[in-house]
Structure formats: structure tokens, C-alpha cells
């Protein structure tokens, strides 16, 4: 588990083949096949309960699929792997460990130095000795991001990590995520409810519907992205997908 502070650690290519998952009678994922290119930033949108978190759990091998397979860099994957890290919907910091110890969780060897570097990257180096409870919600999510970065993941799975943040903090966090992604070069899969967030960050936006990918949109706006006409056009396209999901109810 080396921490690459010199440059991009690189990303992993991911491929899923016919992923299916059901809980009891309810089928959540239904023969899902897709590919994530190494270093690509993909955003997943979909209505609540459509299986986004489930997809991340399968990709992170926290759970096994009922059918189908996940492969990373061409290797079939069925176990937890240090090159994949998940940032959860909640910060999930250990309240009994200091900020630095939280970031260093699971690291071997010279973990303090590695954790300190990652903490510096999210701008919280000065809070290393504090208890998590003394941080704000946004700061806690930044610590959670640092914890993920400290492992130099090749695949980072982000499950609405900014969902609970206020609008201003969220913009700052988005910029931070984009900056570390650009400098480290990992493959990122971001689940979000925020269409503007998806278009700000992602190279590609996919829509998860009925356990499959029903839309797939390439975003080739230059970075960092401005909220101009092109942005607005893409945003309204994605919004239309989402509206159509609810068409039956309106």
C-alpha cells in the first residue's frame, strides 16, 4: 500500500458482465453490463431505491452478485481489494479515533506520514489531533475523502458523499474531488442526486433504471466547467431523463 505523492497513481479499468442482484422477491439489478475506462469519471443517476448503492457494494465486493461478474483490469474480482475504496453516504468516521488515526485506518508501515499527506490534500492538516465530533459535516466528509485517498485507490466509488452538505460546502467539495481526481488519475464512479454535480464532475453520466443502464451520455465540456449554454443543454437533457422516470406519476 504505497502512497504515490509524486503523481497520478493511475486508474483501473472496470468491466461488469450481466450483474444481477435481488433481495428476496425484489430484483434490484437486472443483467447489468458496462465498462468504466481507466481514469474515467462516471456519474450514476437514478431515482431513490433504484439500486445505486447496491451497484457500488457489488463493485466494491462488499456483497456478491446473484449472477454475473465484476472484473478489474481484466482480472475477475470477488473479494475486497486494497485498490478499491468506497466513500459512503455518511462519513463513517470512528468517533473514538482522532482525525489523523481515522485517515490512517488500515494503512501499514509509516501510516502517520501517509495520512498526514492525505489530510493536507483536503486542507485539514491542522485538525489532525481533533476528535471527529468537533468537526463540521463538510469537514468530516473531507476527512472521509482523505481516508480514501490515503490508500491511493485505483478505483474510487463515491456514494453521494456530498448529499448531506449545504450548497456552498458542496461546491467546495466538488472542486476538491475534481482536483484530487485530476492529480491522482483514479477511476471514479459517483452516485449523485444532483444533476448539476454530475455534469460538473463527470466524463460520462449514466441513468440506472429497472436494474439496467437506460441512458448513457458523454460529457466532453472542457474543465473546470463553467455553467454556460452547453452545460445548461446537457443539464436539461439529464433532467428530462429523470422527469420521464416519474412520467407515470405526473
Amino acid at each position: 500500500m504505497e502512497y504515490d505523492i509524486k503523481g497520478p497513481g493511475g486508474g483501473a479499468g472496470v468491466r461488469t458482465e450481466g450483474l444481477s442482484k435481488a433481495y428476496g422477491q425484489t430484483s434490484v439489478l437486472n443483467g447489468l453490463s458496462f465498462e468504466l475506462k481507466a481514469g474515467e469519471f462516471t456519474a450514476v443517476v437514478g431515482r431513490s431505491g433504484c439500486g445505486k448503492t447496491t451497484l457500488l457494494r457489488l463493485l466494491g465486493c462488499l456483497e456478491a452478485p446473484d449472477e454475473g461478474s465484476v472484473s478489474v483490469d481484466g482480472e475477475p474480482r470477488s473479494d475486497l481489494n486494497p485498490d478499491t475504496r468506497i466513500m459512503f453516504q455518511e462519513d463513517r468516521l470512528l468517533p473514538w479515533k482522532t482525525v489523523l488515526e481515522n485517515v490512517g485506518l488500515g494503512l501499514a508501515g509509516d501510516w502517520r506520514r501517509v495520512a498526514m499527506t492525505a489530510l493536507g490534500d483536503v486542507g485539514l492538516g491542522l485538525r489532525q489531533g481533533d476528535w471527529p465530533r468537533t468537526l463540521s459535516g463538510g469537514q468530516r466528509q473531507r476527512v472521509a475523502l482523505a481516508r480514501a485517498l490515503a490508500h491511493s485507490p485505483k478505483l474510487l466509488l463515491l456514494d453521494e458523499p456530498m448529499g448531506a452538505l449545504d450548497a456552498l460546502t458542496r461546491i467546495g467539495m466538488q472542486a476538491l474531488v475534481e482536483r484530487v481526481w485530476a492529480s491522482r488519475g483514479f477511476t471514479a464512479l459517483l452516485v449523485t442526486h444532483d444533476v448539476a454535480e454530475a455534469i460538473t464532475l463527470a466524463d460520462r453520466v449514466i441513468l440506472l433504471e429497472n436494474g439496467r443502464i437506460s441512458q448513457d451520455l458523454k460529457i466532453s465540456l472542457p474543465r473546470p466547467r463553467q455553467r454556460d449554454m452547453d452545460f445548461a443543454k446537457l443539464e436539461s437533457e439529464v433532467l428530462n431523463w429523470i422527469l420521464s422516470l416519474y412520467a407515470g406519476y405526473i
Binding site: L62, P82, I86, E90, L105, G106, W131, H151
Partner: protein
């Protein structure tokens, strides 16, 4: 103010007032006990209280000095503390182990929990007559009773503490590569610790209670024995002294438990949001 030619009355001196106020705040809680003790002493001196019913504070103090000098007091305190400590250690270990085992293995929970919940409802002191028949009035009887009393609070709180550790934190820890041992060390045990310490505090109370009763009824040494021996000789001063020492030891155990909490639970919010 500076132009005021009149001398200031001393009561409005702000600095002195503050010190006095602080001092008063520290002192106020002790006021009532001090008044009571002084009144008690006066009542005894005036002959209002029969010394056979209640000795004067001074006589209790004299008994303290007497028993301290002839070594009887220290010997008995030592004996009592050794029993309490041994019983607590054994009972605590059993409770902790049972809690860990049942909280970890579903099978062990199914196997043991119903039984333990049933046995737990028996007040440990109800066993006293049986224990005297089994072990006589020696050390084993007392230690056994304390073990019985201490085991269950620790068991219940350990079990509950481990079970209530946030499953989200556990799956996070797995994603971050913690193996089984590290998971216990960094996540499960620290998460269960607040609950375990609640059990420790509770069982310290049970420990003293059991010891007092067992030593008073059936012992040939220890503080309780000292008290019941004094009863036969109508030495009320020694009896009151014993009560005070029990109170002091109980308080001491509580202080230790609190110190443990401060040391290990400092991460918790002192005042909730």
C-alpha cells in the same frame, strides 16, 4: 468613582467579592454535613443521645485511631479488599468472556442466552445459605457470591455493547482492509467500551453490597466481621466506623470507574449537541 471622596464600604470590593463567592460555592455543599456533625457532637456531649445507640463523632474517631494503631483495621480492610478484588476479577472475566462469545457467535447466543437470562434473575444473595453449606464461612464463599453478582451486569453490558456497534462502521472497516483482529481492536471493542464501563460501574456497586452482607452474616475476618463482632460487644463506635469505611471504599471504587471513563471515553461529547 475616582473623584469620590468617601471611603468605599468593604462589601463592594469587586475582587474580594469574587474570591469570596468562589469560596462560598466550594463550601456550601459541605455546610449541612458539618453542621450536622457538630450538632451530633454537641447532642452527645449534652447526654441527649445514649452512646449505646449512637456514639459521638469524636468517639468514632477515637475508635478509628485505636483500631488503626493496633493494626486490626488495616488487616480487615486488606482482607475485604482482597475478596472484593478477586471476586470482581473472576466475575468480570467470566462476564466479559461470555459477552464476547455470545455477541460474536449466533450459535453461542442461542445456546447460552436464555439460560443466562434465567439465572440472572436470581438475586446472588439468595444463594447465601446454600453457599455456606457448600463452602462454610471461608474465603471461597464470599468470592463465589461476588463472582455471581459481578458476572451478569458485565455480561449483559458487554453483549449489548458489542451488538449495538454500528454495522456501517464495521463494513467501512472491512472496505479499508482491517482484518478480524484489527476490526476487534479498532472498531468493535472501542465501540462496545462505553457500555462495558457502565457494566463495570454497576457491578462495583453489586460487589460492595454482596461483600458487606456476606461478611456480616458469615465471616471470621474482614470489615463486616469487625462490625458484627462489635455488635456483640455493643461497640457502636466500631459499627459506625465500619459503615463509614464501607462508604469510603465504595466512593473510591466509583472514583476509579469515573477515571477510567474519562481516560477511555474522552472522545465522547461532554455536552450533547
Amino acid at each position: 468613582m475616582t473623584g469620590n471622596p468617601q471611603p468605599k464600604p468593604p462589601r463592594v470590593n469587586p475582587g474580594g467579592g469574587l474570591i469570596l463567592k468562589k469560596f462560598r460555592k466550594r463550601l456550601t455543599p459541605w455546610l449541612l454535613p458539618i453542621v450536622l456533625i457538630v450538632y451530633w457532637q454537641i447532642a452527645a456531649n449534652m447526654g441527649w443521645i445514649n452512646p449505646r445507640i449512637l456514639p459521638s463523632p469524636l468517639n468514632v474517631f477515637r475508635a478509628f485511631v485505636r483500631l488503626l494503631m493496633n493494626g486490626e483495621l488495616l488487616e480487615n480492610v486488606k482482607v475485604s479488599c482482597a475478596r472484593a478484588g478477586l471476586g470482581f476479577l473472576i466475575g468480570g472475566s467470566i462476564g466479559l468472556t461470555l459477552g464476547l462469545v455470545t455477541a460474536t457467535w449466533r450459535f453461542m447466543e442461542t445456546l447460552l442466552d436464555t439460560t443466562l437470562q434465567m439465572v440472572r434473575t436470581i438475586p446472588n444473595l439468595a444463594l447465601l445459605p446454600l453457599v455456606i453449606i457448600w463452602f462454610g464461612i471461608g474465603e471461597k464463599a464470599k468470592v463465589f457470591l461476588i463472582v455471581c453478582g459481578v458476572t451478569f451486569p458485565i455480561y449483559l453490558n458487554t453483549f449489548h455493547g458489542i451488538r449495538s456497534v454500528d454495522l456501517n462502521l464495521i463494513s467501512m472497516a472491512r472496505v479499508y482492509g482491517l482484518d478480524r483482529l484489527a476490526l476487534w481492536r479498532h472498531v468493535i471493542l472501542p465501540g462496545a467500551l462505553p457500555s462495558i464501563l457502565v457494566g463495570v460501574r454497576f457491578s462495583l456497586g453489586v460487589m460492595w453490597m454482596t461483600l458487606i452482607v456476606a461478611e456480616t452474616i458469615a465471616a471470621s475476618s474482614g470489615l463486616g466481621y469487625m462490625a458484627s463482632n462489635a455488635r456483640e460487644m455493643m461497640q457502636t463506635d466500631v459499627i459506625v466506623l465500619t459503615i463509614l469505611i464501607y462508604a469510603f471504599l465504595g466512593k473510591l471504587a466509583d472514583v476509579v470507574a469515573r477515571a477510567l471513563e474519562r481516560r477511555f471515553l474522552s472522545w465522547r461529547a461532554v455536552n450533547a449537541a
